[in-house]
């Protein structure tokens, strides 16, 4: 399980918000987000390390999904959103004025709560991102589609019907197709917004296995409601409550010896 690969880490009282140690890829500092006048995120500071799975947990409306969507600037699509503070990826501020959001999203992929395959064939779904980037060679596309589907553990199930509609797949298959679609463009980070919340237990466990597999190649940030899921798949966990980051650290530490009362109440199921 996850703890075997985790390095030992030090969380000092001076720097309680550092997740883990070592090379951090994403650095969020004093990030606040406003919808019009209401504040959805309050001064969040957090570091997320490269090639580990980081889980965001917390009760509904706590801001975990909002923070996730800040990382590929999907919040830009909503009218009246304002952001203060900074979010850096690889040392580059993604809210700097000269940032090209499209380029950013190519590097920060996303998988949504509700699987949303395009009403196209399975092949076209996976090839979509590559075609956008101007890849036209049939051979290149074929290889990329196959690799991505293998990467998303879906290849064996669909290799004989690549040209049939993606909408004919089961819910779990659709979600894995969405993951294949996301990894086809070779992002470095994959954001997952409750990817298994609409799936049955068997499909969920397949998606979870897949996430553990993907962790070797990608930095994964996952929002989840399901605390067992967080313990099963994440290396590090951040707990949010009412738009604030309450506590973060190695997953097993958050779940076994939380420092904050509210974290303890939540992970032990007293509210939420």
């Amino acid at each position: 399980m996850a703890e075997t690969v985790l390095p030992k880490l030090e969380v000092t009282p001076q720097n309680p918000l550092v997740v883990g140690a070592g090379a951090s890829l994403i650095e969020i500092s004093n990030l606040s987000l406003f919808y019009g006048k209401s504040r959805a995120l309050k001064d969040v500071s957090l570091k997320i390390r490269e090639r580990v799975v980081t889980a965001f947990i917390g009760p509904s409306g706590c801001g975990k999904s909002t923070l996730l969507r800040c990382l590929n600037r999907m919040n830009d699509l909503i009218d009246g959103v304002r952001i203060e503070g900074s979010a850096k990826i690889g040392g580059h501020d993604i809210y700097a004025p000269d940032v090209d959001v499209i380029e950013l999203r190519k590097r920060v992929g996303m998988v949504f709560q509700k699987s949303n395959p395009f009403p196209k064939s399975i092949y076209d779904n996976v090839a979509y991102g590559l075609k956008l980037q101007g890849v036209t060679s049939k051979g290149e596309l074929d290889t990329a589609v196959e690799q991505s589907l293998i990467g998303a553990a879906l290849w064996d199930e669909v290799k004989d019907r690549l040209q049939s509609s993606a909408l004919g797949l089961s819910g779990g298959q659709q979600q894995r197709l969405c993951i294949a679609r996301a990894i086809a463009v070779k992002p470095e980070i994959i954001l997952m917004d409750e990817p298994a919340s609409a799936l049955d237990p068997i499909a969920t466990s397949r998606v979870e296995d897949l996430i553990l597999e993907l962790r070797k190649d990608f930095t994964i940030v996952i929002v989840t409601h399901n605390m067992q899921q967080a313990t099963r798949i994440s290396d590090e966990t951040a707990f949010f409550y009412m738009g604030e980051l309450i506590e973060s650290g190695p997953t097993q530490k958050i779940f076994t010896m939380p420092k904050q009362k509210r974290t303890e109440d939540y992970v032990t199921g007293r509210f939420g």
Partner: protein, 312 residues
């Protein structure tokens, strides 16, 4: 079903019975009006609708049932409606795309555009006719003639081009509203998925949104065509001709028109009893053209609405 339970469980509720009956009767009456109009036209029109009738170019006296036909009218109406579609579809669809995909909701400009669309939908058709005469013919047409040094009016007079443009302005709201409805029916998740892969907004619209919205856009086009095909008032001063010996060949030609022909046959006939059969046949041709299209559009629209509701 509720009525039956009511009878069993409580006293006969006269008010309830009376008012339910009254509103139900209103509904039936409207349906009856529709049925009578359609039935009357089909029963009287069908026997007179011959191949000869729809394929003949009439002589000057088109009131004679033996020799008349409606070929030039069918062609005229088709041409003006077809040209209108070319003008109205791109503008209408692009406007709808702006309103649903780009326009900041709640901004004053968006509200003005929406108000303009609603207003265009409510302008009386005869005012569109006046507009076509005042703007297209008297302003644009005459200035074109002057620029081209035409000896006489070529563009500064009624023409099929001006009639089509006038109709395009008139049907713009139809296309916009139908397209918008179908764009809104597309789940936000699809757009997000595309954007999250790194597609630009425009790529998302062209590759994901528009293909999905195609049935709705078609509905809008069909509704616009059906509305325009039956309209007479806007073309009265902008292009229709009472009689033309030849078919229109240039954009600056006038044309004969089915709807206008119905008007002429009903009001100017020297002997209404004699022309009645051809009048019915002409009306039936017009109805087949407009109403059949409308029927198709209503069916597609009902399906789109159902889909919309299913998606919540």
């Amino acid at each position: 079903m509720t009525e039956i339970q009511n009878f069993k469980t409580r006293k006969f509720d006269f008010a309830s019975f009376f008012f339910s009956g009254l509103t139900g009767f209103s509904t039936l009456l409207i349906l009856a009006i529709l049925a009578v109009i359609l039935g009357n036209i089909i029963i009287n029109g069908w026997p007179n609708l011959t191949w000869h009738f729809v394929s003949t170019i009439p002589k000057k006296d088109f009131f004679d049932p033996a020799t008349t036909g409606v070929l030039p009218m069918i062609i005229g109406t088709t041409i003006r409606v077809f040209m209108m579609t070319i003008f109205v579809l791109p503008i209408g669809v692009i406007t709808a795309i702006y309103l649903t995909e780009y326009a900041p909701s709640g901004s004053w400009l968006t509200r003005i555009i929406r108000a303009a669309v609603n207003n265009l939908a409510g302008v009386p058709s005869i005012v569109f006719g006046l507009f076509g005469l005042g703007f297209f013919i008297n302003f644009i047409g005459r200035n074109m003639d002057q620029l081209m040094h035409n000896p006489g009016p070529v563009w500064g007079q009624p023409a099929v081009l001006w009639a089509s443009l006038t109709l395009a302005v008139m049907t713009m709201p139809v296309v916009i509203v139908a397209t918008e409805e179908s764009l809104k029916a597309i789940p936000m998740g699809l757009r997000e998925a595309s954007l999250a892969i790194g597609a630009t907004k425009l790529e998302t619209i062209i590759r994901i949104v528009l293909p999905q919205a195609l049935p709705g856009i078609m509905t809008g086009g069909i509704l616009a065509v059906s509305r325009a095909a039956g309209e007479v008032a806007p073309i009265l001063f902008t292009g229709v001709a009472y009689y033309m010996a030849s078919l229109p060949g240039k954009l600056s030609d006038q044309f004969m028109d089915l709807g206008y022909h119905v008007f002429v046959l009903s009001t100017q006939s020297p002997d209404i009893e004699k022309t009645r059969p051809i009048l019915y046949a002409t009306v039936l041709v017009l109805l087949l053209l407009t109403f059949a299209l409308n029927f198709v559009a209503v069916l597609i629209r009902a399906r789109v609405r159902k889909k919309l509701r299913a998606l919540g």
